[in-house]
Symmetry: D2
Subunit: 364 residues, 4 copies
Amino acid sequence: MIGPMHRRAALLDGRFAIVAGVPSSDPARAEAAGAAIGLPEGRAYPSITAMLAEEARRPDGIEALAVMTPNDSHHAFAAAALDAGLHVICDKPLTVSGEQAEDLLRRVRGSGRVLCVTHPYAGYPMIRQARALVAAGAIGAVRAVQVEYLGSGLAARVEDTPEGARRWRLDPAKAGPSLVLGDIGTHAHHLACFVAGAPIVAVRAELGTLVPGRRTHDYAEVALRFQTGARGRLSLCQAAAGQDNHIALRVLGETGSLDWRHSAHEQLVLSPLSGPKQVFAKGMAELAREAEDAARLGRTGHPEGLLEGFANLYREFAEAITTGIAPSTMPDALDGARGMWFIDAALQSEASGHAWTECRLQPV
Amino acid sequence: MIGPMHRRAALLDGRFAIVAGVPSSDPARAEAAGAAIGLPEGRAYPSITAMLAEEARRPDGIEALAVMTPNDSHHAFAAAALDAGLHVICDKPLTVSGEQAEDLLRRVRGSGRVLCVTHPYAGYPMIRQARALVAAGAIGAVRAVQVEYLGSGLAARVEDTPEGARRWRLDPAKAGPSLVLGDIGTHAHHLACFVAGAPIVAVRAELGTLVPGRRTHDYAEVALRFQTGARGRLSLCQAAAGQDNHIALRVLGETGSLDWRHSAHEQLVLSPLSGPKQVFAKGMAELAREAEDAARLGRTGHPEGLLEGFANLYREFAEAITTGIAPSTMPDALDGARGMWFIDAALQSEASGHAWTECRLQPV
Amino acid sequence: MIGPMHRRAALLDGRFAIVAGVPSSDPARAEAAGAAIGLPEGRAYPSITAMLAEEARRPDGIEALAVMTPNDSHHAFAAAALDAGLHVICDKPLTVSGEQAEDLLRRVRGSGRVLCVTHPYAGYPMIRQARALVAAGAIGAVRAVQVEYLGSGLAARVEDTPEGARRWRLDPAKAGPSLVLGDIGTHAHHLACFVAGAPIVAVRAELGTLVPGRRTHDYAEVALRFQTGARGRLSLCQAAAGQDNHIALRVLGETGSLDWRHSAHEQLVLSPLSGPKQVFAKGMAELAREAEDAARLGRTGHPEGLLEGFANLYREFAEAITTGIAPSTMPDALDGARGMWFIDAALQSEASGHAWTECRLQPV
Amino acid sequence: MIGPMHRRAALLDGRFAIVAGVPSSDPARAEAAGAAIGLPEGRAYPSITAMLAEEARRPDGIEALAVMTPNDSHHAFAAAALDAGLHVICDKPLTVSGEQAEDLLRRVRGSGRVLCVTHPYAGYPMIRQARALVAAGAIGAVRAVQVEYLGSGLAARVEDTPEGARRWRLDPAKAGPSLVLGDIGTHAHHLACFVAGAPIVAVRAELGTLVPGRRTHDYAEVALRFQTGARGRLSLCQAAAGQDNHIALRVLGETGSLDWRHSAHEQLVLSPLSGPKQVFAKGMAELAREAEDAARLGRTGHPEGLLEGFANLYREFAEAITTGIAPSTMPDALDGARGMWFIDAALQSEASGHAWTECRLQPV
């Protein structure tokens, strides 16, 4: 699913053309697969190394690389691309360890290159409206942030099936030490910080495996402490039979609260302490600028979806490349690194009997 | 809004390239506007006539025309394109009269050309699931179909504003004799027939104008009789302050009913006579083939939107062009003509004191 | 269901005691049935006549009669009770003809007696809030009112079953000339007028029977014209398989609209022309007085139901009896008569080929 | 609110009469207040002691006592009533300590007296359907239970207001050591165990105070371990501005999951691993017996509320008294004691740095 998503998102606004790629490590298959997705002849490469080398020689060589490979390869590919002077847009989790992420962050800093991490839910107009409302004080000081992220995909024991065997996600060597934290936990962590407008400084985590025999985590309950002192929790599960990529975000403030659910992602409910609830909707008048900009169909009742959210990141990535200034809403290398440090802290908390554990916020 | 929608929908699956166009009737402005939307140099024309003539001379000339101009020009442009051997995809309403539509239908028949009318709501996966469930007898024989289509866009008296003056929709000479019927009524009419799997053979209409001084209809209540004997009604209003392009479809059958709402378009509720309601969702297993094919993100909980619905029509248009066989789900020239004959019948019913009036179903 | 509902509603606020009744026409069975529902010994009568006569002799005789018998007996029982100086609370439809209703209305007027018709949906707090918002101009002048009332109870052909044979509702001689209009249409008619704050002066009706062989109507589409000039429609069906006593009310106004649904009856949505929708909720602060008074659990999130709506009518009935002044929100004899005149007009419209037909608003 | 609720719930099914009470500690005011709520003359007492003594002398003395006083008095009143041979129905939390609860449990056991704790949410038909579905294996073995309970009532700093000063709930001496756990946590704890069909054997708790200067907890996140090994968590907050007594219950099972929300309490959603979601509704056919019995309006679309849930407990209390056998769905003294032991364990976990702490399940 993720390949076509990247392609369509990149192309949606006409800010990118897809001119080269590594569709297979076998040269013959790479050529055929490249043709199938419309790559120009001779620009479907069997390896990143080959692509970077060849493209560097072309006057019209690639300027940016989109990384959508298994997690354990993110660091090497992103690092090589950055070193070759390319901009990088990379799937989450940014890497498979905090050290790797910190290394990427160091390479980006001062390089003039842009690194964007694809947290597409942060591209939804109503998530941006939530962030803007919090920033504007619409619910007063934030007291707590609660995020649920539940998926059904690993509810059955897919490990035993031929398809399951191919699922690199279930192999900690490829996906990182905790699947649930890398796969959906980093999304939830980013959403919580993005909307609260503050980083998470400490966590207290319970990590578990609901499906017997599984070698990685599919369940996590993580208590949060934000830099502002606000509390919170993430409820994460990938073995939640029947739950459809369910994401629910709630921000409790002094004078009101916000509720958003993925299943109705074009709505945002503000519940004040007194008086009627207010339902904000994508496309309506009187939205915050950043929510308005995130909509392509500028009227309510004209549904958009994940593609447009994803494309918003690509548009911001293009903006950052062309202007040299990344929009503050674009998930960048620091956001990606904080996601990995969050995983590090959660693993350490679980190992220590669920004690509060600090999250690193900046490179050493 | 409609121009970018067509462009993105056409490009989404890589089945079309946009290589020529008529972005303005002023040659200089046409060139500039064409460049802005990425047309190759020299292929931004100041008129359809010029485009058809010039492109006919090119070996790589255009094969299909997308018509998204004011309604009164649809017939002339589509007819010219068909006569020039092009395929046509045209905004609804197909024309501004039944006669014009019938003329287009005659030109298409036997020509080997494809004409598709953009009823994008019929491209939603759950609308296709509804059609498939009805066809499979999941709710027994259809007793009645109820459609609401309400919009807020003309709730205020926009006629007096400079922007309103530019709104050709409010001018019956340009938009056709009844705005509400052409603009949203044809969508509702098509949805009702599409899901019921049967044409509407007679209507009884009340047409009205809620906003004082308006020269066209913004309100309609239309009673329906289907060829199967089933009853129904359309509730249409474009002056419904605060209603966000609200569409609700209900099919009442002998043994159950279906409910679908635009605001939750990726769900479809089947309420059986007895036992729990069943909620079908885009991307779930066990969907009808035509609903499954209409989804690009093949898992529940990954929202798609109007763009993908629109793109489904473009994909079917491409399919019809390349195979010579239009998918049965593609709204074609006959569907477009029936939409216009529905308008004719509704106008006649209103004029006759709301009497039942037959809808033509085939050309004379 | 209706007997226990009346009993509980009457008792809920301690304003009534149930001290006599006619539970059966067989004296022995009446006594036994009376004991079962707690009637004092000797006050379970075999007929209304007997009850009125006996109770009139007691110093502690009944003061009010609740009529919950088949429709064709309402007039006789209510008339007898009024003539005996009792107050009457009567199920809808008030009678089985406009003439009967008019007769009751005449008996009530000037008698000092109170007659209340049980339209319990009008007792819901959020219906009262809707009425108050309309009256306060919150959505500007009303343009149209749309009500759906759909039930599943007669979707199957129950006539052939032993239980069905007992269903007096299906017998026009007992239930009145049009089941769907009497049973649910009068509720919808009252709701529309109650919230709009204006009577319906003309209707244009399509009445039908969806279930083959049925001797009465189970389907109606009724176009409305209010005294204010506002339009509207009622969609009524009792053969809507799977629809659970579904009622939806929408009021379209110049500057906004209201939406209410029975399935979420403690919420009311106000959609303004611009800006966020507002969700009013039972129990919240800042409600209209009449909505606040209609709640017994004065905080949001503490669900109430139909019983409390029904009990609100009993409370207003008590208020009217004790103070001599009926609250304006209590459905009275005139409301009941207008419901019957609405049925008369709808039947005449259907007979005349769906022409606009005036509804009587006052007795001759 | 709680006084009228108890009265109405007790009376709803005619199983109880309210014949004596302690409406005030001042004899004159007790008499007046008793008259206002309809107590017979001479049976409005100024103290429990007086009432128990006087009523014991009457041949028609009270048989049961309903306790709805501040928490710190529950133990003394319930113990005195039990010792006097009365049955007791008592508000939650049962007492203000595990020791007190254990003492009551010992007094009940073997006494032939019934003690019921009012957890009215457990009286809702769809909560009972959830319990029945879990027990029947409809979602396979339970993996995790997630409950949210959020209220807005203490979001503002009410302590400083005159009204706040009267709120005994905010005084730990009167309400118990942790308001959030006693007031709403015991409800959530009971719901989780009730639906899962298994007790909670260990907790790991974070208890907090969101409103500055507050002397008791208004926030809790409690991780759960059930006797079956299932995991879970409770999210509790009474300072959640704008959240309307929000309760959400989710049960994740091996083959599906259940979702229930207080704001739509007459629905229950079962999401299977594959295929359409199923929506169970109060009043529909094919419900579990215990869900069917919990509905008074035995058809869908006829809303009931908290009163009926509360009344279901009174009905079970009556059943237990008259038959000597408490229905398994009635929250009894052991349930009440487990609620208190849960609080004890949560407090100990918080004190120990959030370590897993065992909950007592039986008296020593």
